[in-house]
Symmetry: D2
Subunit: 376 residues, 4 copies
């Protein structure tokens, strides 16, 4: 693991997710840019001292030299945004599979470099777009793919948060600080932090790519250096259209990720705050409420719950689903043989490139006076 | 009453709304373009035969000649969109107050003519933008005005319906037919039918006018002659921004009018499907759920419920609130004295002009390649 | 109308309900025990002065003597509980149909006297058990009757209120005062005021009579003279069992009437706070959410909405449904011909007798050390 | 671990819960009564072969002889109900702490034996009453303890399931089979399986013991040998009263555990299907909706979430909270020093004894003709 030291928010989430299925074990790490903190973390995790490293360069160096049955199987990168690219690149260059916290890199160019490296090495690169790990998101995708709601016409996806409603970065809040600092976060604020999750979810469920966007990005809070609020009109490749909302100034909202997809025959709605429920509206019969763990769900959904219906599962379990898929791909991996990570239902480097492109295009559209900007 | 004959959808709604408070009585009418149907309706309503007219021209002619204490106090126009203007105009020209079903007219020009007539005659013209009649909508407006959620920053308003998901107008459905026929409905389909309700609600609650829009209008269903789907980005006069969605092809949706307004300190949410509830989110304390009829509400809200908390009130009661306000204004009216109908919390001719302008501007924006179009 | 003067809570509700359909008109009344208040009310309602009476005795006396086409068609009794019996009795004795606010009388004995009078005169006596007027309650009954959920096994019905959580009757609150005074309210407090609504709803939907009860009645608030809280175990004639909760000390609750009925194949849930929705759970397929006004509903339900799906209707509309049914029965009435008021879906004198018996039996059970008490 | 082999339902749940925090590691086990299956499980968990045992007797025998820093720290018993007692007893007799899946034993007598052993040895015995592990359940308890809702008056707790609506045990379903077989499950069916969870939750949140019950137990499905449905009236030590519902024939219900507690000033509601939300109703101000992870919660609740507000946590996380508390107690344990496990917020042997007593008393009450039976 690279990153995830004592002050990390997302590090423990990755480790908890990994622990749920017991298929993955943290064996080594460079947890912090401060070696002392890295060692501290290693102790908390009861790791072998020899495998707690001062920095990730050292980690790759030494792990590479360990016998194949002793060295780590893959590396997990959970650092802030601007430190995703370098360790991911180094992992691939040193022969390690890698799973990267979203976004894949700091810029579209970096993302493309990683893509080339993946193509060249044949190694696996996974991305933790967590929300696609929820079982009912998978069922929604299944229903659309089977044509159950007919051709998709409208997509409304939104991710309202409220935690940046004040100039939190001015108060010493570490999370707010790096997320609103273009040097650490990248060119996009809300659009990169949460908007990209929303867009990814929309494309995942509908199976349709966004082709054109018309974006309005705002820095609503005075003194903020980056957008904290995004709205955009969307066009999809199949002719569908939609709206994406991603804001961090919707005072009082938590992570109210919500997607609605309407087709010719019906509509689907999924909300992260009630993740074990999928609402299905029909043109000519009563609305249905589908629930995780129920026998009537698709195999696509049933494979991703761990308890019978009625036992709520949540964010960590969705996260674990991504990791479990990646672990299985790593286990199946054979050097020299081309593997399709998407078959394991794990977000790939292509999703990462696409994500970076979305952010770049949104920023471009936002400053344009033209209505539509193509998302190539 | 003009219109509201045996096949009318909205006519009985107006009459039921009027009946709730017992302050208004239907005394005469020209209910249909077919005199026979008008008479039939008159009988159903036990009206005096002499006061059931063959057409509205006749009605104005004869009512005008009745003694002041016998003739109708005001006229209610509930015909299809393209027949709002003429009877409303004739009412004003003949000295009658008039309440018009939304939209006020067929075009912006007609609306402006009515506005001038109102200014000239000093008579009252009310508009049934029903949704502003709900008590918790009024409370939401009150909270914003009092600054309880701070300066408004974001407005998300949506009105999804699904009933036009198929080419219903091709099946003989009368409601679908006139609403999708530009000759009867006007230049806007969804934008005029429901989008204007959404926009009006947003302006009503926030007290802020929309200044610029970026609209996408679609005719999603093949063969349809008019938009059945609208999305637009919004800018408000105080610097707030937002999104408006109004669609009639969200399969499975009823009248899911939903508005969220976020300010610096908190956010409000109101949904027509649960109209007796107002959700208030706060930046730093638990979400609150306000309920109609409760003593803690503002007088603005309390004056508009008829039963104690816990007795659901709905659409007809909201409608009745508009009518009751109008009736009271009519009662207070003194010829020659300028009256402000807005003080009675009844939508006015200005709202009607504004509504027509919104439709026109939305259509203009939709066909423009420029991002923003001003709404003057 | 008897009762419903200037300070009445339920009087305006009856009048608003009556106004919605325009099939009934208030033509006369004895609105208060104070003739002055009665007259005041008559003026507010623009009634003919001659037909505003000083007391109900006078009203029956004089109305009886009017020509058949001028006198009132039926009388509505909306006085406090202890003044239901006398005017209802007098109405029947003087040849008038009567609709009585629930409970039908002050004691079981009085109720039985009315029952005999109805049998003897053949006149119509209706009871405003409002909750059975909701369209989705009617659909629930229809589904049970059609066997859609299989044989009924479990019934959970509850009516929690919180308004009597303090000794409100000690503060001069008029509603609290008479409802907690055994001399005005009768022997049952919560059980009579709301518990009987809950029980009636359970029997109405399931079509099964309660045969045995095991009741716990409490006067929770210190100083209260009557029960403000009821819980009981139930047995039904078909072998089903259940629980009834009716409390007025559930602090913070409004009128959260909620019923769940489970059969062999599925379960139904209806809640007054969301009255336009019926939840249907199935053993082997997704939960369905049925909505008022939808074409897929039974005729039993469709006949009782006034607006298309998506326009919320509420308590007044449910009330209006009872009145409309009664008005139609009155219209169809032919002297000398036996009529079945239940066919008009209006609660009858039999429901009234049953209600009084339930209260009496609950009080008896509550003071007994035996578990079960039969409800004959 | 004792039990939790390849066909176990609850075994993987325990292991996933344990994995979330990474503070506990499964090091050995006797996973099945079939040594082959036990070995198979050991391999799946990558355990050292030497520490996968043929049966639990062997496990205790051998683990006991390992050096203190190598042997297991405690044992987890996850077998069917009738095999809880023997391994738990043997654990304590051999000097091991033990955590037992609910119910603690097969009979009240066995439970009391374990209680004596715990008192004698000073070892720790924990019980996985999972529902008390939810953070908002802990906050609810905190609010009651602080007097925020005033003295508790009413408690409504229910646990409806629908999965035993048919004679599932006749179809070969293993879960249904042992749970409806008195020889494996004990004298109580629904009352023991889920009713005891509901009662435990009520006592946990209110801090009040149930003193008297009036129970109705039914075997609703023909051919069933044990109750599948329970309803009971309750009295609490502080004078509060309530109702408990636990049924397995509410067709279509999952694990709809729901508790409402009303005090003099307000009421609390928590539902397992939306576990990250606590509804608080107030007598004189708007209802509040509290959410897991929010800063405004008590420390009691905040200590038990792993992610910021807006990231749903569920059943496994609640389970993990029980285990984490137990692990910390084990770590703090010093032989010879009396420890209070309840301080770690872990259900204890006393809760287990109480649970067995509740089942026994409920069965006794159900067959009695007297209304109330004391729960000593």
């Amino acid at each position: 693991m690279v990153g995830g030291g004592p002050t990390s928010l997302i590090g423990p989430v990755h480790r908890a997710a990994v622990g749920i299925d017991g298929e993955i074990e943290v064996v080594c790490g460079a947890f912090s840019i401060y070696p002392e903190e890295s060692r501290q973390m290693g102790e908390m995790l009861s790791l072998d001292r020899d495998r707690v490293y001062d920095n990730y360069e050292q980690m790759f160096e030494r792990e590479k030299d360990l016998p194949a049955d002793q060295r780590m199987d893959f590396v997990s990168v959970v650092t802030p945004n601007h430190v995703h690219f370098a360790p991911a690149k180094m992992a691939l260059e040193n022969g390690f599979h890698v799973i990267v916290e979203k976004p894949i890199a700091f810029s579209l160019e970096e993302a493309k470099q990683l893509q080339k490296l993946v193509q060249k090495t044949g190694l696996l690169l996974g991305l933790t777009h967590t929300y696609t790990g929820y079982p009912l998101v998978k069922h929604a995708r299944h229903m659309v793919a089977k044509g159950e709601i007919g051709k998709v016409r409208k997509v409304y996806v939104e991710y309202p948060q409220g935690w940046l409603s004040t100039l939190l970065e001015g108060t010493g809040n570490a999370q707010a600080k790096w997320r609103t600092d273009p040097k650490q976060s990248g060119m996009g604020g809300a659009i990169g932090d949460i908007g990209t999750h929303a867009a990814n979810l929309a494309e995942y469920i509908t199976g349709q790519k966004i082709t054109d966007i018309c974006a309005m990005l705002n820095a609503v809070v005075k003194g903020r250096k980056i957008d904290d609020d995004t709205s955009m009109l969307l066009r999809f490749e199949n002719g569908a259209s939609g709206v994406l909302i991603a804001t961090q100034v919707a005072a009082g909202e938590e992570n109210n990720l919500n997607i609605r997809v309407y087709g010719e025959k019906g509509g689907l709605q999924w909300q992260q705050h009630d993740p074990n429920t999928l609402i299905v509206r029909w043109l000519d019969r009563p609305m249905e409420v589908l629930r995780a763990g129920q026998p009537y769900l698709s195999d696509a959904a049933k494979a991703f719950t761990r308890t019978p219906a009625g036992h709520p599962e949540g964010y960590l379990e969705a996260f674990a689903n991504i990791y479990r898929g990646f672990a299985r791909a790593v286990r199946d991996y054979k050097p020299g043989k081309k593997m399709n990570l998407a078959k394991y239902d794990v977000p790939t480097v292509e999703d990462g490139v696409r994500g970076m492109n979305r952010v770049k295009t949104a920023v471009k559209s936002s400053t344009s006076t033209r209505k539509w900007t193509a998302l190539k």
